[in-house]
Symmetry: C2
Subunit: 709 residues, 2 copies
């Protein structure tokens, strides 16, 4: 076992994933787009999504250029660990963007094909939608492994670095991916929800026309939003999570096994787990085949069979893998991998319990609509807050278990405390990789939801009839359930990876700072950092939420203007100006995404300069803990409101149009930015702040003595 294995195994995994993605893409494209009208609508959506992403990338590119220049400058002044970092920053950003872009391309090709296939049968619809999800899932995984392998090769064989240096350089490579992901999530999230809220407020409420009615000028923008937010945003996001968890485990592995031959092996293990996960995910995908004319329950069973089989297979294969790579002495690391996988599944289960209308919490939320919108909102907020308990306990248990299993000890007086401590931390890092190892297939079941949603929109706009819409709705609601599992993995891994990155940060600064670091919680600087970090989470959530509000207001004005000025929209004799709404959403989203994203980058640096590195550690913990809680709270509250509304639309509490339904719609309006803009962005925020802190630690340590004396 040596460095070469890392490269070759990573490359093989990458190629397998990309090949499978390519195969699934061909499968999708073999389906027909249906009627010319459908193709035309799909083209409009594709054009809008393309246009948005192009402009988003242009905006982000400018910001990347500035940061790149800054990084070069820091490198020139010797304040950066390596000259490779500025370039890795750019590649991370590009590949994260590419992940999102590929996802968007396939989603905008699959949406119309899903609508057309659903015209035939539910199963055909599922086939197209799931295949398109698989394209994205495996592209994300493949690109991630490819990025890691190539850079590994450059650093090892181009620059000839040793294991420790490679690991500690590569952990900084996540910054570019996180930065891009944050822009994609926030920008896409604001776009999609501004269009959604704007379209609903004027269309449904004021003009009284149904959702996705072609007479609504914002309807194309709404469908574009699904693709740029839920698809492209999610792709960039999970690329970042995946790569981040592997790189963090690299760094912890190299620290824990420093000075030993095992260092390469400790780096190889997370990579090998990821590659095994790819293969298991591919195997699981083949299990997702159904007989014609099965019901929705059976479909859900099929999807679950695929994901759980992949996870189980990974869990089994990880045992010989760990034994083979680290040896029997370190077999405890295997338990850490298991803890990660189990925690991901458990969080997914609880997410579903709190957000699916099959269980009591969401049913009770539907009951709360009986007494109006006020109680509906309070009910959803308290449901979301309560739902944080289980994930926290699960993540807490996973942290402690993986730490202890990998050799860590909580008894500070143990003789080899420091070494065992590092070993334990490596366990936490590996647990995060274990959790995300089957990302290929979990993301596939996650990403097909927005495709189904879009298919429904196209079916509605092209008048495919009630039956087709019912089928796409069934697919969509199925997607909501599987997405819960996906979210469990994303959010759980974010917490574990953030901890791993935190430790890397401390490792990095310990080397640079003269004297001892007092990272204990009684240090006022640490506490103030903790306060600021937690506050930043609130501020970030607030800014992204109000970004949606501001952008939505502009859409409302525009839709009202079109209804007023373009005569004949309502009787169908004139076409609304769809592009104007897409354009407004684009401008709004790009405008509103910049400030919160920059906050994530500047605050850790400023905190470090003015309050010292101890405060930065507090800051990172504050943002990790509060960010995790807020992300769970907001995602689950939003999901529950959405499903309570759907449950009522299914005929309970008076059904569509009743007072209860109106209250539920208000709840859902609050939930929209919760679950699709602010909540998922927080995952990225916590990791971005960690990598930013690591990368800019040289700058901070140089400048802070001027202020701290």
């Amino acid at each position: 076992m040596n460095a070469q294995s890392c490269f070759w195994i990573g490359l093989a995994g990458a190629l397998a994933a990309l090949a499978f993605a390519f195969r699934q893409r061909r499968k999708v494209l073999r389906f027909s787009e249906g009627t010319p009208q459908m193709a035309q609508i799909a083209a409009a959506i594709r054009k809008g999504a393309n246009a948005y992403l192009r402009r988003q990338y242009r905006t982000v590119a400018r910001i990347f250029a500035v940061v790149f220049a800054l990084l070069l400058l820091l490198a020139a002044f010797g304040r950066l660990d390596s000259w490779f970092i500025p370039f890795a920053f750019v590649t991370g950003g590009c590949w994260s963007a590419l992940s999102g872009f590929v996802g968007m391309r396939i989603a905008t090709a699959a949406n119309v094909r899903t609508a057309n296939a659903a015209h035939e049968s539910l199963n055909q619809g599922l086939k197209v939608a799931f295949a398109s999800g698989a394209v994205m899932g495996f592209t994300v995984v493949g690109l991630g492994l490819l990025d890691i392998s190539i850079w590994f090769h450059v650093l090892r064989y181009g620059a000839g670095l040793d294991a420790q240096t490679i690991a500690h350089t590569m952990v900084m490579f996540g910054m570019g991916a996180s930065f891009m992901a944050l822009f994609a999530r926030v920008g896409g999230g604001i776009f999609t929800k501004a269009a959604d809220v704007g379209a609903d407020l004027v269309g449904k409420v004021e003009a009284g026309i149904p959702e996705d009615d072609p007479r609504n000028p914002a309807t194309i923008a709404d469908n574009v939003g699904d693709n740029v937010g839920d698809v492209a945003g999610m792709g960039a996001d999970l690329y970042e999570s995946y790569v981040g968890s592997i790189l963090a485990a690299f760094a912890l592995g190299a620290s824990a096994y420093s000075g030993e031959d095992l260092a390469w092996n400790a780096m190889l293990l997370p990579l090998a787990i990821a590659v095994v996960g790819v293969l298991c995910s591919i195997a699981g995908s083949f299990l997702i085949r159904t007989k014609e004319n099965t019901g929705q329950r059976a479909l859900l069973g099929t999807l679950r069979r695929g994901t759980y089989s992949a996870a189980l297979l990974s869990a089994i294969l990880a045992a010989p893998l760990t034994y083979f790579i680290l040896g029997l002495e370190h077999i405890g690391v295997y338990l850490a991998i298991l803890a990660g996988l189990a925690a991901g599944c458990a969080i997914g289960y609880f997410t579903e319990r709190y957000t699916s209308a099959s269980y009591a919490p969401t049913r009770n939320l539907a009951d709360a609509t009986e007494t109006g919108a006020g109680t509906t909102v309070i009910g959803g907020l308290s449901l979301g807050m309560k739902s944080t308990a289980a994930p926290v306990l699960i993540v807490g248990a996973a942290i402690i278990l993986s730490f202890l299993a990998a050799g860590g000890t909580l008894s500070t007086d143990a003789a080899d405390y420091a070494l065992r401590f590092d070993r334990g931390l490596y366990g936490i890092g590996v647990a995060a990789v274990g959790m995300l190892s089957t990302l290929g297939i979990t993301l596939a079941t996650d990403a097909y939801g927005p495709v189904a949603d879009n298919a429904g929109g196209i079916a509605e706009m092209s008048g495919l009839g009630e039956e087709v819409r019912d089928r796409t709705d069934a697919l969509d609601s199925l997607g909501n359930t599987t997405a819960a599992t996906g979210k469990g993995f994303a959010i759980g891994s974010a917490a574990l990876t953030a901890l791993a990155l935190l430790v890397s940060y401390v490792d990095v600064v310990k080397v640079r700072v003269p004297g001892t670091l007092d990272l204990s919680l009684t240090n006022p600087a640490v506490l103030v950092g903790l306060f600021i970090g937690a506050m930043l989470t609130f501020l970030f959530a607030a800014m992204t939420m109000s970004g949606v509000q501001t952008a939505a207001q502009a859409i409302v004005q525009e839709v009202r203007r079109q209804f007023r000025e373009i005569t004949g929209i309502m009787d169908g004799s004139a076409q609304p100006d769809y592009a104007a709404c897409v354009d407004l959403c684009t401008k709004g989203a790009l405008h509103e995404m910049v400030l919160p994203s920059l906050l994530a980058v500047t605050v850790p640096v400023l905190t470090g300069i003015f309050l010292g590195v101890e405060a930065v550690v507090g800051l990172l913990c504050g943002v990790t803990v509060t960010g995790f809680l807020m992300a769970v709270f907001m995602s689950n509250a939003g999901g529950a409101w959405d499903n309570a509304k759907k449950y009522i639309e299914g005929g309970s509490h008076g059904g569509k149009g009743s007072e209860c339904h109106k209250a539920a719609v208000i709840g859902d309006t609050v939930g929209d930015p919760f679950k699709d803009t602010s909540g998922p962005s927080l995952n990225i925020l916590i990791k971005l702040m960690s990598t930013v802190s690591i990368v800019f630690s040289g700058l901070v340590i140089t400048l802070s003595p001027f202020f701290l004396g």
Copy 2:
């Protein structure tokens, strides 16, 4: 300067405060209750409030008895630092309850007198209402100082303990007060909001009768709620804050100046600051006199003149006091006091900026009602989250400044780091006392709001006419503004006191635990504790919110039943059964308050036993930081929704009955449990968990080795 001064100065301050409170009470009672009908309504409210508090105290007494027995048991097994703790637990609880009870008694006497006096003029109304607020403010302060002085005397002259032992024993005395305060805040908060929401949902929305209409069966319960929640709950709460801050400063002072003659002086200083604060508050109260027929602006100016003069006078007198007690060498402590006072005022200012309709944020929230309830709710949530930024930065600055000013250093390599560290922490403790020193008068301006609110209810029910109602509304809205300042002090001091208690906890366990404590943030146990603490805040907020929901649902059913079964309510020929609603609220509140309160007590103990004392430190930090943020967020969002609604009722955006108004009412319904139940309870939660951890540390340290090995 010696121990005797502590006793005599504390006692003198206590007696001065109580004498002034008594004088104000006589002043209130000299006013007339008005017509027999008014007296009858007031009697019904008083009876309901009395009945609730009696039952609340009975319920709490049972829980206190259990904890008392447990504490005795621990003392018998030598797991408690002192035999005095169980008894101090009981006295703390009793006196906190007494503070609330006295406040409720005077408020239920003053409400009807305020209504009657407002019949005469706005100024007469203010006079009665403010005097009743002063009764409560000075009673709270007086009882707090009396409790401290008496126990000090017992420990010093009865038991003959030294300064360190006294200080470290007395810091545990806060537990009883905190425990009682939490029950009072949560129980009272659930009562008041359940009655309010229940009355509104059926009365205003379904039956279409105005607020406080005597035909509404829940209207007396609603008015009882103001007294048991906003008055009695607040009294118990601030008693706890006041006593807690002084006791925490005692403990830090004794640690920082241990082994020196200065120890007594370090304990005397916080007490002396508090006593000077009492005197300055009394002086400030005399400034609150207005000429007849001044406008609302002038009234606000008068109230502010009183509070700011008291604060300024305290700030000035603290300088010679510090010099006299600690000497020139430690004069930096004076800056810490100033930092505390200034931070309290600054938080109050920003609270007002975010919640008053005179400023942009609340105006913008009113604008958001134009696009419906959904955007109103999102707007309020994001306003509340944004409003956390300023208080966090202010508290952060106060922590760092008071720490550095009192001698602390952030440079871990300083030679006398440990000593300077303790000195700095004492600065933080003293800053909290400084912030609360003028509590007598700030609480007076805070507590008169609910009295005015109640007066409005009585005016409405007894048909005193539009003009009187307008005047009581003016007083009420003035109260909202001054209450913002009061909240700033309460919440800011909670954060500082919690830090002081945290340090006391670490001091206590360091002595007991063999080996070293690893309190750094990279320790997984600390991190998991941090996660659990933050989660507990969310869970607690959710439970108290849904407690309101559950209790309100019962009221809704009951009011509907009465409208249905008691014929003649609507035409006024039959009286509704007010007592039934009061009874239901009582039962509901008592039932819902127990679980969240017990959570606060059991979780720190369980965390300690299963994860060790390091995890408890993480837990306390998690609950302090997240609790502070959530408290600010919830209070400010609630306040802004309330004031946006009032602003619209004042004629903007279509005024009362418009679509905007309906949206604003929904926002306010969400805000009610935010600002009056969950938000203010969090203040107490964070301190209760700290004192519980300290008191039970002996038990935890005995049991945890069984689980941690």
